[in-house]
Amino acid sequence: MTSDARGNGHDPRRAVLECRTEVVSNCTVIHVSGEVDLATIHVLIGALDSARAAPHPILVDLAETKYIDTTGIHALLHARERHDNTLAVAALAPTLKRIFDVLEIGRIIPVYDTLKAALSTVCPPSAASGARRP
């Protein structure tokens, strides 16, 4: 099952942010496409809030994320804290990786180089459905 949320609404001036959510194995995967900033942050927060309703680990795929500032990073930190620390991010472009490194986000949120690596570690198919990591 997938769901979409877009941040452009009916306003053509807005930079588009799209969050597409799907359940893979035992994870809720959010594919974040576009720019995460103050104008679009509500789209990411909405997707994270919806994902938190399910008892699965959350995996945020940033492969198509062109821009993210500390507004977006704080949303990820907040969601992880409120979801039993079961949130990880994957597939950061080098520019995004630089921000995460400078802010030492990897000490708080697990960061995976690829979505495939994240899926195999965070949500292995053999894991019991609904299980939460300690």
Partner: protein, 151 residues
């Protein structure tokens, strides 16, 4: 090659995206790399976000951006007219726990020089001034020649 631009607008998150993209393009025009452009764009976005959230309490307020560049550096000054409490913020040199200072810490790390001035204008408010040397080899050569009295 040198130039300058002044933008005046009301703080609106939708406009911020256009402003930071202008900064990014200016860095490229000045001869900077894509990494330079990305870093100054992000620093600009952080300062604009900070002004919106803290200077004006998430309400519209006047902002002015002064952008100037030459073939060595890009400098951007962002002025707000909002309230300042206490001594006001500064650019932190260390990464403290908690969420309040990550944006300004990032600004310090992504630029070659960053400072916050209170009051930013005679009327008050805050100015954040950031500079990035977009051609560090040319800048260093210039500084060395200057220190040795070479014309």
């Amino acid at each position: 090659m040198r130039g300058n631009t002044t933008l005046r607008f009301r703080s609106d998150p939708v406009i911020f995206g256009a402003v930071r993209r202008l900064v990014s393009q200016t860095v490229i025009v000045a001869g900077g790399s894509r990494d330079d452009a990305w870093e100054l764009e992000l620093a600009t976005g952080e300062v604009l976000t900070n002004a919106y959230q803290h200077a004006y309490g998430k309400t519209p307020g006047p902002l002015q951006v002064d952008l100037r560049y030459d073939d060595q550096m890009v400098e951007i000054s962002i002025h707000d007219e909002g309230d300042v409490t206490g001594d006001g913020p500064s650019i932190p040199s260390t990464l403290a726990d908690g969420s309040n200072h990550r944006g300004l810490y990032l600004v310090g790390k992504l630029t070659d020089r960053a400072e916050i001035v209170h009051p930013g204008t005679p009327q008050g408010g805050t100015t954040v001034r950031m500079r990035k040397y977009v051609n560090k080899l040319r800048w260093l050569t210039s500084m060395l020649a200057s220190s040795q009295g070479v014309r």
